[in-house]
């Protein structure tokens, strides 16, 4: 059974229909890269799956449960699906360790000692065990993003949504974040990531989704999508077919 099932998903901002009927089934352990031009609706799509945007039509099922826009269902959904943002969004008034502990204690009512042990484990996992007491503004962008990943992992989600998580980073810091994602993929975490890192998508992802004007325009395994794009739009996006 698919872990995330999106059916005829539509989303409008006023008169502007941004998602025009998205269908996508994701199996457990799949790593999906979402590519496409800016404005094609990639972020909106991920945000819908995390309940940050309300859905106008269609349905989203996560682990068999329907996404409904009330606070109880949203909380249940967000415990299953974590999200990492382009701008890290660490809580600046809390240390790295506290960032990872907070939602465990507040949302899951985990005890402090247990939350701290989990935080140390997850920071270790992203290679930042030694930064437990550092505040976000004492960390590099790459380190901040890794803390954000640890923070999401501490909630033990069954899937992670990543929206251009390396786009705000200096080029030399991209690799350390991608290495963490690669590790997660290898451990079997289900991942949906909007990315411009084509080489990474080719190496790590099981499927590539090309979005165009609010629709899934083309989808397939990376070899196919990158080496033999079928549609003109994808060829153009990948820089082929100008001839």
């Amino acid at each position: 059974m698919s872990l995330i099932a999106v059916t005829e998903l539509k989303k409008r901002f006023g008169a502007n229909e941004v998602l025009k009927g998205i269908n996508l089934d994701i199996m457990p352990g799949e790593v999906i890269a979402i590519i496409g031009k800016s404005g094609s609706g990639k972020s909106t799509f991920l945000r819908c799956i995390n309940g940050l945007e309300t859905v106008d039509e269609g349905s989203i099922l996560v682990a068999g449960a329907q996404l409904l826009p009330d606070e109880v269902h949203l909380k249940a959904l967000r415990l299953k699906v974590g999200m990492i943002f382009q701008q890290f969004n660490l809580f600046p008034h809390l240390s790295a360790g506290r960032n990872v502990m907070l939602s465990q204690m507040v949302v899951k009512k985990t005890g402090k000692a247990q939350a701290e042990a989990m935080a140390r484990r997850q920071l270790e996992r992203v290679g930042l065990a030694h930064k437990f007491d550092a505040y976000p503004d004492e960390l590099s962008g790459g380190q901040q993003q890794r803390v954000a990943i640890a923070r999401a992992l501490a909630m033990e989600p069954i899937a992670l949504l990543c929206d251009e998580i390396t786009s705000a980073l200096d080029p030399e810091l991209v690799a350390e974040v991608l290495a963490v994602v690669r590790e997660l993929a290898a451990e079997g975490m289900t991942l949906m990531m909007v990315t411009h890192e084509m080489k990474f998508a080719r190496d790590v992802c099981s499927r590539v989704v090309f979005m165009h004007e609010g629709r899934v325009h083309e989808v397939g395994p990376p070899e196919e999508v990158f080496s033999a794009p079928k549609t003109v739009e994808l060829q153009r996006f990948l820089g082929h077919g100008h001839a």
């Binding site: 995390n50 309940g51 940050l52 606070e71 949203l74 909380k75 967000r78 415990l79 974590g82 999200m83 943002f85 701008q87 969004n89 660490l90 809580f91 600046p92 008034h93 240390s95 907070l102 939602s103 507040v106 949302v107 899951k108 505040y135 503004d137 954000a148 923070r151 999401a152 909630m155």
Partner: protein
């Protein structure tokens, strides 16, 4: 005729200034509590609550404090409710402070990056949890300087309560003037006492603001 020394005048004024200080403290603290409730209504998800808060803030910011004092004192009196001056003064100032504090704090809440709401939501926090653990701690830091700054307005606002007969510093000034016929000395001293109360506060607000700009971290 009795002779009044400057010391006699000053002593009486300082004695009355206690009521200015007390009224300021009560208004500021009460205004803070009511203001916090108005703030929560102002940033709530419910449209009705937001409307109410906006209406409240506009009403109290859009009319002179003096009219609010008159309404609290004479208005309720007309309805047959006998309101003592201190009660009318206290409640009007509390409601008035609440409107301004709520609006100051709303600005501080809105200054917190939108990504903080999204990140905390994506971690499963409910709205109150987001406010309590993520948004307000950050808003609080930027809120302190303008809040301290506003306390100066409260102190100056208490002067108006002399008009409805509350005997604080300004009213005492009038009384002492009537007894001594030395208006320049008396009101000069009254002004000095107000200055002694307000000036340290506004200096403190400025220095807090400067510190906030230098170290943009609060731990």
């Amino acid at each position: 005729m009795i002779e009044f020394s400057t010391w006699d005048i000053l002593r009486n004024l300082i004695f009355a200034a206690r009521w200015t200080v007390l009224l300021s403290l009560v208004s500021f603290a009460g205004g803070g509590v009511v203001g916090l409730m108005i703030l929560f209504a102002r940033i709530s998800k419910s449209k009705a609550l937001r409307r109410f808060a906006i209406g409240y803030i506009e009403l109290f910011q859009g009319t002179p404090l003096l009219m609010q004092l008159f309404l609290a004192f004479f208005g309720l009196g007309l309805l047959g409710v006998d309101v003592p001056a201190w009660l009318a003064a206290g409640s009007a100032l509390i409601l008035w402070s609440a409107a301004f504090l709520a609006e100051i704090w709303r600005g501080c809440v809105e200054a917190v990056a939108k990504g903080q709401w999204e990140a905390s939501a994506s971690l499963g926090m409910g709205r109150l949890q987001q406010l309590r653990y993520v948004i307000l701690p950050q808003a609080l830091r930027v809120a302190v300087p303008p809040t301290v700054g506003f306390s100066v307005q409260v102190i100056k606002g208490t002067a108006l309560t002399s008009i409805i007969g509350f005997t604080e510093l300004s009213k005492a000034g009038t009384i002492v003037t009537n007894a001594t016929f030395q208006p320049f000395t008396v009101y000069g001293l009254v002004a000095l006492i107000y200055f002694a109360l307000c000036w340290p506060l506004s200096r403190y607000a400025h220095s807090l603001e400067r510190k906030l700009h230098v170290a943009h971290r609060g731990h």
